[in-house]
Symmetry: C2
Subunit: 494 residues, 2 copies
């Protein structure tokens, strides 16, 4: 029908057609559509006008794709979708029952097969939010998620990976770390996700520079050729359920701990990693707000990893302000390239953090001896080897291009003299999202100050970037009501 309903399969039929009456279909019923070769469960929309005949059913893009793009006059059978049996486990979970291997597998399989409506997916996400998943449930879900998708296997004894639990705008260390580590001959088949509640994920940022939608075979070829990749996980079909769940988490602006651990660990196991370093930024407005919570999360990550045969190490890092200057895909890509090219203006915090993470990974991979990782990482970056390796990866993935600049900008200035005392990471992320990030790649925020900087009234604090005038206006509206995005405190004179 030429109708884009995002991932949701929708089918349109006449409200007065024979099938609707005989089957007793109501609007918004879940209906199974079966052709000779394929089947999909779709939401029913009833059409009351003459656009369709009584013998026609029209499909949304997602439904059409799921049915393998049937030809114009193909015959299809429609009937009520069977009730989703695994929803009884979701209901049980909401009432305080525990998930086990069996129920977790049933839920994940049904989600993966597209049997859950958005309303049902949302209830599952809500049921798993907060502290409601214990370690055994998290392990069960993780295992089910690994089993639901494809799995990569590598010949190497050690296969390295890294991950950041997020919540810190601009924290785009991954491309730099992968370049440094893989330049030293360590296998690093990196898959990344798109943004959940942040203005950019690593996949969004890398997409500005090089194609990230590699297929399963292409990704294996890239890693075979250059020892690493920087691909979007969703396109390789590793832990595919995750992308369905992420869409709902994004709509809810939620990112639950158990689901987060299941998502991270399942993707790493499916990608064939043996050793994983996980960065947990902690700060008052980061995703993880206290050392206590960070230690709990570390434990859950390490135990879940161990249960699935993965060596997980975690580093708890400073999450009190963004890393780098750019927030949003293109602006972060600019920062990444500055560091890799040893540009004098490169953001030093991004450079330093990337070096520390790369150092750890070099030691975990046994390429560097304990305590010698940082030296090797610095040498790899300074010598240009990391930059060359990064370009090799991009070429193998399909080409390299530099980020473009947004057509609409607006600079925000300090209202009075003082010292930069506080960044509200959540407001910054929200502001960048309102400006259009990550869907508008050039949209976002360019920061001009860091914590502790002294500023004069009128000094530039940050610049909003947008691809559309409407989005820029929308971000400015938000600023009107939230002036505490960056706080300038007046200095006390004793």
């Amino acid at each position: 029908m030429g109708i884009d309903t995002h991932q949701q399969p929708v089918v349109y039929i006449r409200s007065d057609c024979h099938v609707a009456i005989a089957e007793g279909f109501n609007a918004h019923a879940q209906v199974e559509i079966r052709t000779a070769d394929a089947a999909v469960v779709a939401q029913l929309v009833l059409v009351t006008n003459e656009r369709l005949s009584h013998e026609q059913a029209a499909l949304s893009e997602a439904a059409w794709q799921a049915l393998g793009c049937p030809v114009e006059d193909e015959i299809a059978w429609l009937h009520h979708a069977a009730p989703v049996e695994s929803m009884s486990y979701v209901r049980g979970k909401l009432y305080g029952q525990r998930l086990d291997d069996n129920s977790a597998a049933a839920i994940i399989n049904d989600i993966n097969a597209g049997r859950y409506s958005d309303i049902q997916l949302s209830a599952y996400v809500a049921a798993c939010t907060g502290e409601r998943l214990d370690v055994n449930e998290t392990i069960a879900i993780t295992r089910a998620m690994v089993d639901s998708g494809q799995r990569l296997r590598w010949a190497n004894e050690r296969v390295l990976d890294k991950h950041c639990v997020g919540g810190l705008p601009g924290n785009r260390t991954t491309p730099i770390v992968v370049a440094i580590v893989s330049a030293n001959g360590v296998l690093m088949p990196k898959t990344s996700s798109r943004a959940i509640t942040s203005p950019a994920g690593t996949a969004d940022t890398m997409e500005v520079i090089t194609p990230v939608q590699l297929g399963f075979e292409q990704m294996q070829q890239v890693v075979h050729d250059v020892g690493a990749c920087l691909a979007w996980g969703g396109s390789v079909s590793l832990s595919p359920t995750d992308d369905i769940i992420i869409r709902i988490e994004r709509a809810l602006d939620l990112d639950s701990e158990g689901q987060l651990v299941a998502s991270v660990i399942s993707k790493k196991v499916a990608a064939g990693a043996t050793h994983v370093l996980i960065d947990i930024p902690v700060g008052p407005t980061a995703k993880v707000r206290s050392d206590d919570k960070a230690h709990k999360l570390r434990q859950l990550l390490e135990r879940t990893g161990a249960a699935l045969g993965l060596d997980v190490r975690t580093v708890i890092t400073d999450g009190s302000q963004p890393i780098g200057r750019g927030i949003g895909p293109a602006l972060e890509a600019r920062d990444v390239l500055q560091v890799l090219e040893n540009d004098l203006h490169a953001p030093q915090d991004l450079r330093q953090k990337s070096l520390l993470l790369a150092a750890q990974l070099l030691e975990m991979s046994a390429v560097a001896e304990p305590g010698k990782g940082l030296e090797l990482a610095e040498r790899t970056l300074l010598s240009g080897q990391a930059w060359q390796q990064f370009q090799r990866i991009c070429q193998a993935q399909g080409g390299f291009s530099r980020p473009a600049e947004a057509p609409f900008k607006h600079c925000v200035h300090a209202r009075h003299d003082g010292v930069v005392a506080y960044f509200n990471n959540r407001f910054l992320a929200r502001l960048a999202a309102l400006a259009g990030a990550p869907n508008a790649a050039q949209a976002g925020i360019d920061l001009h100050v860091r914590l502790g900087d002294e500023v004069r009234a009128g000094a530039a604090l940050f610049t909003l970037h947008a691809e559309a005038a409407g989005e820029l206006a929308y971000a400015l509206d938000f600023l009107d009501g939230h002036d505490d995005v960056i706080r300038i405190e007046e200095e006390l004179t004793c």
Copy 2:
């Protein structure tokens, strides 16, 4: 656009139109549509074909209604819907924070204004499921729900109401009770809901007999004229949020305790009741499964009622088997009429339970002295006064008609001799729903046995009724996999 998406407002625009590009719209974005006189938040669907011009937006029925049915060429402004601020309270609740008057009011107001998407509504319902709402939160939500709608006020000192927490198929005492009590001059402006997870609500059953979609003024007129009504609550706009939440609960097959109490009490307060009797059926497959849970629910109902100035009494009743013979709107309506008309074949359990509830209400209203209610109730029924009063109510609401019989039937027989030992109320409800109830009013189940009945192999246990062949087949499919709907145990011979 002649498109029925149930209650969900949807707007269709061309993916390549100027507004979509300038505003950075994506499929499934929440978009505010504003005309000169009205506004609605709708889900965006992008159309990629020529059905619409670049200057056109098409609306689903729900969106079109919400905008007050704009004329063909009316101009509308589209922009991103503001993020729903109260969702932060829903997220907080999922993370274990408590709701207070302020946050409950914010959530209910936003839901009522149509600002929550289905995904967000589902997360709210999930957040309130199980034992997650304490009494203060329940009171806060109840108060917010009362404030969100219209409120009826009556001159009488005592205004009586009743409610059943449900879960027991066929338990249709309300029409009988209202007729008996109001025949004695007691004011009983009864509003009922449609089915949530059951095959019929009182409103569904009454609709078979008389119009129940009364407006606010019409309902007041009916009560003024005949001292009672039997109307659908949703059409009077009492606690209107409830109907939105019920749609989501139905899709999830969930019915949470706190939300249940908020729903019941808010509707009673809004309907202007001063005294309410609540029936809590308890049984292994009823909604409330243990005396323990029933007592907890009783306490929550009584405390929430008291906080809102309502005198709430509860009766805990037997919920081990359905009440009456029919399950489904038309079949239950038949049972109700048999009792009111003193038909010799009337189901005695339905008659007896209705009399007991009516007796309590007559005593609560001070029309009968303590201990004298049952006698008065029986006299009112036997004398035909209740039947006359029921007909008066129906005439005042717009007419009286008798239920019709379904065109498709299938009788299920006992496989062996034995005694009827167990009814699975949940399976019976599911079976009736699969057969089409409540949307197909004539669909449902007609029971031929009761607990303790001795049956021979081949004896009729129940008859499935359906309005469409497809639905009957679907119910039969379910029976194939679930033969424990009614259990016949062979007698032990010593």
